[in-house]
Subunit: 349 residues, 2 copies
DNA sequence: CTGAAAGCGCTTACAG
DNA sequence: CTGAAAGCGCTTACAG
């Protein structure tokens, strides 16, 4: 209140009658400070409304207290995916506790993606989170070139991501295969034989993992595993691929979708063709969006706990920044959420 | 390549045979630099792989080149709202061009919200974007207390947001009323009389604006404007409120929802009760989510161009940071997207 | 058109 | 338990 400008550590030190170093140590705890001195410092800081300048701290300590996240998807697809907001909320919970922040970019081209990481590497973040890992993903190499610490989230440790020298990036593994196996098992148990899968885009590791799990599960049950058709996670593809499947003779009695949006679009299309859900057709989604639980009937889906995943990813990154070498953490698998969209198949004609 | 550590402006200056000042000016353009010198500087920088440290730049120039966005909603609701990802993408487009970044927080309590803004104010951002303005919103006062420049996005300039001294925050106005009027007009034209509205939570200015527009439009057409029922933007409320409306005798022949998710949940419920869309019931949403266009039938909705809104908001904030005083920018209103979910009402019984 | 130097507000060895 | 001082890597008056 004495000055119209923002207080600095010097103002606090002067008012408390100590050195700037002592003020700094009182807050960081990196050196013991006597109780009385601490009190005076905190009081001075409070009455001056002082908080340390993050810019100055960043320059002096070479730590930005910020991590970066670059999402490389079309905005429409992000908005259809309940994963991101929950994931980010999970990240934030851990970051806020550590007094850190999240720098976010949404990009659509590889060029913009590289530009974003490059800007991040210019002293903007301490490390980054790599999502949506692709087969042969170029980002691990880019991270190394930029000297940017990173942790990746992937359904399995993808072999092509091993770096040149054999070192691997820290990773959080969140597998999806088990849930797909469970879904197929439930449908088989209910009596289904012709089960189809609408997959995600094959360049994503998580999409091919779900697809491979579907094929494996069908094979295990000695059913035809070839009813797989490629979607791209959009509502448009859910609608179009479902139309193709429903045109087949005989048509599938159940469809396992790689995400909820495609499933909801498919469900709507099936209904518009006069099919009853689940009497004529069973459907399952993936991601457990808020909408799925409140459709009529509800959409059976898979909850992936994105908030826990986000929290774990950030914790892993912070450990890696702290010097822990290449930890690989596995988070608990997703769980199936059973709702009214599945039932026994219709009686054969 | 000569050193294993990151190059600094000093390294570049030495290699190019100039002073650090000249390197700085060659990049900022704030002082003329001869063409030959520029070339040598850029070459030196490139061969050293130098980019200016953002931390140092921030400290020296008192500009963080970062803006902040705090979203105070439950993650489930964010994920149901196609607005945010597109809005953020729109922000990014402008920010990236300016070499700036976006710091994002997702919070659920007022306490965490305040904490987030407080951290931002500690030299983390140059300014913030205020979304989801509420009646009597406390944030303008908070921004002033923290000395944090801000721009707000609101459907109208809300009077309670005038600051104490009569100064107002810069604002971007994106009104929704016109589109609601249009929707009601379309339904009336098709022959509907009993039209209901499922609103958003009344503390939001944008929710009450849509609601008020509905009431006004109904009154204009000399129809009963009282069929308004309060939702909260979640699928659950869309389902529950629709159930209540369908239980009324006589029941409404058309429902105008304040967002798409509620409309989709409502549509699904109506169908599960054996109602045909649009023969028995017409429905409209708001936001134009990717899903809406690919349901069968499609959901008539309102496109709000969130990307343009985001870009405009950022431009307005950057102008304000540049010294322009309290600009108020109006962005083009949203447009109705007509799809199969509306038609003539069923013949009276 | 260019340079030498102060300064941004912290952190952290060094010294006591 | 505490202080004086150097240093983080830039930007920007001041001077020529």
């Amino acid at each position: 209140m004495t000055s119209s400008h923002r207080a600095t550590i010097g103002d606090v030190a002067r008012r408390a009658g100590v050195s700037k170093a002592t003020v700094s140590f009182a807050y960081s705890g990196k050196r013991p400070v006597s109780e009385g001195t601490r009190q005076r410092i905190f009081e001075s800081a409070e009455s001056l409304g002082w908080t340390a300048s993050e810019s100055a701290r960043a320059l002096a300590s070479s730590r930005t207290a910020t991590i970066g996240l670059v999402i490389a998807r079309r905005p429409e697809i992000i908005s259809a995916d309940p994963f991101f907001p929950r994931f980010i909320a999970g990240c934030e919970a851990v970051l806020a506790e550590a007094g850190m922040g999240l720098l976010l970019s949404v990009v659509t081209t590889e060029e913009d993606e590289t530009a974003a990481y490059t800007r991040y590497a210019a002293g903007r973040v301490d490390g980054v989170i790599l999502l949506d890992i692709k087969h042969g993903d170029r980002r691990p190499a880019l991270m190394r070139a930029l000297g940017l610490p990173a942790v990746m989230l992937a359904p399995t440790r993808p072999e092509p991501l091993l770096e040149d020298d054999g070192m691997t990036l820290p990773a959080v593994i969140a597998e999806n295969a088990t849930a797909i196996h469970e879904l197929v098992g439930l449908l088989v148990e209910a009596g289904h034989h012709r089960i189809a899968h609408v997959s995600g885009p094959p360049h994503y590791v998580h999409a091919t993992e779900r697809r491979a799990a579907f094929t494996a599960a069908m094979t295990e049950h000695e059913l035809d595993p070839s009813l797989v058709i490629e979607g791209d996670f959009t509502a448009a593809s859910g609608q179009a691929r479902t139309a193709e499947l429903l045109d087949q003779v005989p048509r599938p009695t159940a469809i396992v979708y790689a995400n909820d949006v495609m499933a909801v679009a498919g469900l709507s299309l099936a209904r518009s063709r006069g099919l009853r859900i689940p009497e004529d057709l069973s459907l399952t989604g993936f991601d457990d969006s808020d909408l799925s639980g409140h459709l009529s009937p509800g959409l059976t889906s898979v909850s992936t706990r994105p908030d826990e995943v986000g929290a774990t990813v950030v914790r892993t990154l912070l450990e890696a920044l702290g010097g822990a070498s290449g930890p690989v953490v596995r988070v608990e698998g997703p769980t199936v959420v059973l709702r009214g969209s599945i039932g026994p198949p219709p009686p054969p004609v």
